[in-house]
C-alpha cells in the first residue's frame, strides 16, 4: 500500500469572471516536509491557498486532503481536519491580548466553544496550553499585551501561534516574511525550520524572497500565470531555464541566489 499524500491537487481551476487565476494546477505535497510555492507577483499563489483552505470554491478540479476529497468544503471543517493557514496580510484578533489570541483556538481545539457555565479564568489547563505555544514562538513575554500594540514582526508570530494552537497536520503560510525587516525575517525563518522539524506538522509556504526559499524548502513548486511551471529540489529549480525566464530574464542571480 502506498502512503496517501497529505495534500493532493488535481487539475484545479479558479476563474474570477472571465479571468483565469488558476489554469489547471496539479501537485502533491508529501507528509512531513517543508515545501514551497513560488512564482512572480500575481501568479496565483494566494488564490491557490484561498481555494485549498476553503475560502473560495474551485471552479473545477479537486483538492484531496489526507486522501479525502475536500473540494469546496467549508473552512471551519477543513481546519477541524488539520488544515490551517496564515494570510499574506496579518490576520489576528487585534484588540484581544496575545494570550487571548491563542486561547481562542485552544478553546475550539478542546471542543469547548460553547462552554458557558465555567469561568475561563478557572480553566488553567487552557491557559497552560496557550502559554506553551506562546513559548514556542517566543511571545511569552508579551502574553498580556494587546495584540495591536506589538511590533509588526511579532504580530505575524501571533498568527503562527494561533495556527499552531490547533495542532495542524498541514500549515499553509502565505508569504510569512512579507513586510519584515532582515532581523525579523531571520527570526521567523529559523522558527519555521525549527517547527517543521519538531512540531510534526507539514509546512507549505509561499515566499517572494528567493534566498529564503532556497535556504529552507526541501521541495519547490513554481507557479506562473496560474499554471505550474516547474517542480523539484532547490537545485533543480535554480538551474531550470523556464523558471529563470519567468523571473524577469534570469534575475535569480541578480537576487543573489
Amino acid at each position: 500500500m502506498t502512503e496517501t499524500p497529505l495534500l493532493e491537487i488535481k487539475n484545479l481551476h479558479k476563474n474570477f469572471g472571465k479571468f483565469q487565476a488558476l489554469k489547471g494546477v496539479s501537485l502533491t505535497v508529501p507528509n512531513g516536509r517543508l515545501t514551497a510555492l513560488i512564482g512572480p507577483n500575481g501568479a496565483g499563489k494566494t488564490t491557490f491557498y484561498n481555494v485549498v483552505s476553503g475560502r473560495y470554491k474551485p471552479s473545477s478540479g479537486h483538492v484531496y486532503f489526507c486522501g479525502e476529497d475536500v473540494s469546496g468544503t467549508a473552512t471551519h471543517k477543513l481546519v477541524g481536519m488539520g488544515l490551517l493557514r496564515s494570510f499574506q496580510i496579518t490576520n489576528i484578533f487585534p484588540d484581544l491580548t496575545v494570550l487571548e489570541n491563542v486561547l481562542t483556538p485552544v478553546i475550539i481545539h478542546n471542543g469547548k466553544s460553547f462552554s458557558m457555565l465555567r469561568s475561563l479564568k478557572r480553566r488553567s489547563d487552557f491557559k497552560e496550553q496557550a502559554e506553551k505555544i506562546l513559548d514556542m514562538v517566543g511571545l511569552a513575554p508579551f502574553s498580556n499585551k494587546v495584540a495591536s500594540t506589538l511590533a509588526y514582526g511579532d504580530k505575524r508570530l501571533i498568527e503562527i501561534a494561533i495556527v499552531l494552537a490547533r495542532k495542524p497536520k498541514l500549515i499553509l503560510l502565505d508569504e510569512p516574511t512579507a513586510g519584515m525587516n532582515p532581523e525579523e525575517t531571520d527570526r521567523i525563518i529559523n522558527l519555521i525550520k525549527e517547527l517543521a522539524a519538531k512540531s510534526g506538522a507539514t509546512f507549505f509556504i509561499t515566499e517572494h524572497d528567493m534566498k529564503v526559499v532556497f535556504s529552507i524548502a526541501e521541495r519547490i513548486f513554481v507557479l506562473n500565470q496560474g499554471t505550474p511551471l516547474a517542480e523539484g529540489t532547490p537545485d533543480e529549480i535554480r538551474s531550470n531555464q523556464a523558471v529563470r525566464e519567468a523571473y524577469l530574464g534570469g534575475s535569480l542571480d541578480a537576487k543573489g541566489v
Binding site: N91, T104, P105, I108, S113, M116, V163, A165
Partner: protein
C-alpha cells in the same frame, strides 16, 4: 486579576444591596420609575450581548421582548395564573422565536444582518398588531389580574409596587449574573473574537454562524425575560413593545451608557429614564430637550457614560480596565 474580580464582585454586591433597600427611602412614584429602569436595563443588556460582545447590530431586539410580553399575557389568560409558569413560558417563547429568526439572520453580517433583524422585527410587530383574535390587535392584551407568586407558601402581592420592584430586581439580577457568567466563559471569549475578526474564527475551525446563532438565541431569551416583567409592570402586552423604535431604544441606551463596559447599557438606561422623567415634568416639548441632551452626552462621553468614566479611571490608575 483575582483581586480585581473580587473588587468588581464587591461593588456589584453593594449596588444590589442599595437597590434592594431603595424602596424604604424613596416614594412609590420613584419605586415605579426604578422598576422600569431595572426591567429596561435587562433589555438593553441583552441587546449588548449581540452588539458590544458579538459585534452584531440588531434592530429587532424588541421583537423578542414583545414575544415575552405577549406569551406571558396569553399564558395568564389561557393557561395558568402562576408566576412560575408565566415567566418561564414567556422566556421559552422568546427563545424559540429567536432561534428560528436567528437561523435566517446569522447568514449575513454587518448592515445586512441589521436589515434582516429590522425586517423580522417589523413582521412580528405586524403579527401582534393585526392578528386580532389572538393578540387583541392595536389594543393589545390586558392583564386583568396579576399572576400568583408564592414562595415557600408565602403569597407575594405583585399588585404592590414595592413587591413587584423586589421581584423584578431579583429576576433581572439573575439575568445579569447569567450574562456576566457568559461573557467571562470560554464562549464569551469566542463572542469577542467573532466581533474582532470573524474570518479568523472560521479559520481556526469554529463555524461562526453557530456562535452567532447561540448568542442571538440567548439575547432573545433574556429580552423575552425582560418583556414578561414589562407586560406585568404595565398590566398589558401591546404592539408598541415590538415596534422597531422600541428596538431603537435599546440601541440608544446602550450607546449612551457604553457598549464596551458590561454594565454600560444599564447605566445608559438609568440616565435615559431619569432624564426623560425630569424633562417631561417641565415641558411638553420634551423630545427636543431630551434629544439635545442626548446629543451633548454622546459628544461628551464618546464611549458612553460608563465607558468613558471607566477609561478615565483606568488611566488614572495607569492600568488596563478589567471589564
Amino acid at each position: 486579576m483575582v483581586g480585581l474580580f473580587s473588587k468588581n464582585f464587591f461593588v456589584g454586591f453593594l449596588v444590589l444591596i442599595l437597590m434592594a433597600l431603595a424602596p424604604f427611602f424613596v416614594t412609590t412614584h420613584w419605586v415605579i420609575i426604578l422598576t422600569e429602569i431595572i426591567i429596561m436595563s435587562l433589555f438593553a443588556m441583552s441587546f449588548n450581548l449581540l452588539f458590544g460582545y458579538t459585534g452584531l447590530l440588531s434592530f429587532g431586539q424588541a421583537g423578542f421582548f414583545g414575544v415575552g410580553a405577549y406569551v406571558s399575557a396569553l399564558t395568564l389568560t389561557h393557561l395558568s395564573s402562576s408566576f412560575w409558569v408565566c415567566l418561564p413560558v414567556g422566556i421559552v417563547g422568546a427563545m424559540l422565536f429567536a432561534l428560528v429568526i436567528g437561523w435566517f439572520c446569522v447568514r449575513l453580517d454587518e448592515i445586512y444582518f441589521a436589515i434582516l433583524t429590522l425586517g423580522f422585527g417589523m413582521m412580528l410587530f405586524t403579527l401582534a398588531h393585526n392578528w386580532l383574535s389572538v393578540t387583541g390587535g392595536s389594543d393589545g392584551l390586558t392583564i386583568a389580574s396579576m399572576p400568583v407568586l408564592s414562595i415557600f407558601g408565602h403569597k407575594i402581592e405583585l399588585f404592590n409596587p414595592k413587591f413587584f420592584y423586589w421581584v423584578s430586581l431579583t429576576v433581572v439580577s439573575l439575568g445579569i449574573i447569567f450574562l456576566r457568567q457568559i461573557v467571562k466563559s470560554p464562549f464569551g471569549l469566542l463572542l469577542t473574537a467573532t466581533r474582532e475578526n470573524s474570518q479568523r474564527v472560521s479559520f481556526v475551525g469554529q463555524n461562526v454562524r453557530t456562535v452567532r446563532l447561540v448568542a442571538f438565541t440567548i439575547a432573545g431569551s433574556l429580552a423575552g425575560m425582560a418583556g414578561v416583567l414589562f407586560a406585568l409592570f404595565n398590566r398589558i402586552a401591546s404592539p408598541e413593545m415590538l415596534h422597531w423604535s422600541f428596538s431603537g431604544k435599546a440601541v440608544l441606551m446602550t450607546i449612551l451608557g457604553g457598549s464596551s463596559v458590561f454594565l454600560g447599557p444599564a447605566v445608559g438606561t438609568a440616565v435615559f429614564f431619569v432624564l426623560e422623567h425630569f424633562i417631561t415634568s417641565y415641558t411638553t416639548n420634551w423630545m427636543i430637550f431630551l434629544g439635545a441632551i442626548l446629543v451633548i452626552l454622546v459628544l461628551a462621553f464618546p464611549q458612553g457614560v460608563l465607558g468613558t468614566l471607566a477609561t478615565f479611571f483606568s488611566k488614572l490608575n495607569g492600568g488596563r480596565n478589567s471589564d
